[in-house]
Amino acid sequence: MADKSKKFIDVTAPGKKMERGHLHPLTQAMDKAGDVFQSMGFEVADGPELETEYYNFDALNIPADHPVRAMQDTFWIKSKEKFLLRTHTSSVQIRYMESNQPPFRIISPGRVFRMEATDATHETQFYQIEGLMVDRKTNLANLKAIIKIFLQRFFGDENIDIRFRASYFPFVVPGVEVDMKFKGKWLEIAGAGMVHPKILDKMKLNPNEWQGFAFGMSVDRLAMIKHKIDDIRLFYSGDLRFLRQF
C-alpha cells in the first residue's frame, strides 16, 4: 500500500538529460577483434602509417613491376627516399618479425591508404586487421579454424560458415580468398594463405623449419556488415548523428 506521506513524483515524466560519449564504431570493432584474437594468444602489434617501399612492398615479395606499386593504387610522398602511405598493415608483420623470434602470433590493426575513387564502398583511407601465425606446424587447416572462430565470435553467430576460394597474393602460397556465409549469403571477407617461403627467408627464418599463415581483412567492412552501414564514408564524416548511435 502506498505511503500517503510520500512526496508525489511523476515517474512518467522524462528523466534529466544526461550525455554519455560514444566510442567510434571502428574502435569498437577493433577492440572486439583484439579481444577475440588475444584470447587465442595473438599479440597486438602496431607500426607506422608513413612507410618505406621496403616494408610495404619489397619485403613482402611484391615484385618491382607489380601494378599495386603504381600511382593509381598507392599514395607516394614527394621525398628523396621512397616514402609512401602503407597500403596494408602487412608492413607491421615484417617489422615485428625483424625484432622478435618465432613462434609468432600477432594481429596488426591500423589505418591504411589506397588511391581509389571514393564511393559508398571505397575510401582513400580505411582500417585493416592483418594476422600472422608462424610455428613449426601451423597449416592451412589451422588458418581455416582461426578465421572461422574469429568471425563467429566477432558477429556473435555460431552459424557462420566460411569457404576458401583459389586466389593469388604475392606474399602467400597457397593463397585464398575467404568468403563468409552470413544470414544465408556468401560475402567476401578476407584474403589469406600460407606465408610465402621467400618472406620467411628474408626474415632469416628457415622455411623448412618454420611455416605459418597470414590473413587480412577490412575493419570497415566488418563493421558495415555488423551494423548494416551502407556508406563507408560515414566513418570519417565526424557526424554525431551517426556516431551517437554506437
Partner: protein, 422 residues
Amino acid sequence: MKINYSWIQKHFDEKLPAPEKLAELLTMHSQEVESVEPKNGDYELNVKILPNRSYDYVDYLGVIRDTAAILKLDAKISLPEPEKREIIFIKESDIEKILGVKIPEKEIMDILNRLGMEISKKEDIFSVGVPSERPDLKIKEDIVEEVARIYGYEKIEEKTPEGLLVPPKRNDSLFFVSITRKIMVGLGFSEVYNYSFVKTGDWELQNPPSKDKKFLRTNLAEGLGANVKENGKYFKNIKVFELGKIFPKSGERLVFGAINNKADFYEMKGIADELLNGLGVDDFYYKDHDSRVAEVQAGGKTIGHIDDNYFEFDFDELVKLADESVGYEPISKYPAIVRDIAIFVPLNEKVENVLDVIENTAEKLLVETDLFDIYENEERKSLAFHLIFQSPGKTLTDEEANAIMQKIFETIEANDDWEIRR
C-alpha cells in the same frame, strides 16, 4: 577476359556442367568468374584472371586444363610438347604438412597430370615437370597450391592449432589509448576519425586524391574544429576527441586531441587533469605559452597544449610517462577540520603563488586545498579556499587548526598587495 562456354565444351567429349555450375567450379578452384551472360545461343563467362595466370589461362588452354582437373575428365588438347620443363621436387609429406590434410598419392598424381605436368615419384619424393607456359610455378609450395585448389579447399577440415598457452604480450600504446578513450567517453566526449589528408602540411603527396587533400595533416585541431562547425547545424554542445597519427616535418606522431565548443580554458584544464591522473602521469604542470593559452609539462618535456576550448597531447610521450600502478594511501581514521579563507589579490596574480604560500606555511596537516570561488571586480580579485586539515595519527583540536590558520593569515598579510577578506 570473356571466354565462351562452347569453346570450353569443344575440348571435351563429355557434356560439361551447365554454364552457371561450371562458372562456380572455376571460381572455387581456378579463377573468379564474375558473370555468365547468354549471347547468341552461347554463354559468355566473364573471368577475372589473376596476374600470375594471365600468361597461360587462355592462350595455352589453362582454363581447359583446370576444367579437366576439377572434373577429372580427359581434355582434347593438341599443343606441341613444351620446349622445356622446369623440375620441382616435393616430398609427399610436405603436402600434408602445409595443408593439414592427407591427400591420396593417386589423386595428387592425377591432378598434376591433368594440369599438364609430367610427374614421377621416387621413394616419397615427387618430381614435377612444369610446362614453360606456367612460369608462376617455381617452388614446391606452388605445387602444393595446385594440388590444394583442384582437390578443393572445402575438403580441408578446420583444425584448431596446437600450441603453448602463453598469454600475449601487452601493447602499451594500445593499452593507454584504450584507457584514454574510456576516460573521455565517461566525460561525455564522442570519438571521431578524421581524414589524414589536408590542404597544407609538411609531407606532400605525389598523387593527391584532390586539390584540397595534397598534404598529410600536422595536427588534429583543424579536423576537430571542422567537426564542431559541421555538427553545429544539429547540436548545441559538441564534445569530440580523436586519437590519430599526425605528420609534422620531424615525422609521424600519435596524438590525442579534444574539443568542447562550450568549454573555457578552466574546463579543458579540468579534463586534462582528470585524464593525466587517470593515466598515472606524475608531476605534470601548466605553463604560459606564447601563442596558445598554456603548455603542459611533464618528465622535463612539453607533452601538450591547451587553447581555450581545445587541447592536444603528444601520445607517444604520454605512453612513456603513463603508469598503471596505483599505490594505496591509507584513509585517515581521524576526523578532518575544514576552514575557509578568502584573499584579495591583484588581478594578474596567479593562483599558484597564493597556493604555494598557504601550503608552505601550513605544512603537513593541511591535506587538501580547494579553490571554490574566484570573484573579480575592476581593481582586484578574491580567491576563496576550503582548507582541510587532518592528522593521520590523532583527532585534531580546534586550537591546533586555529594556530595554523593564524600563521597563514600572518604570512599572507606580510605581502602588501594581498589582503585577507574578513
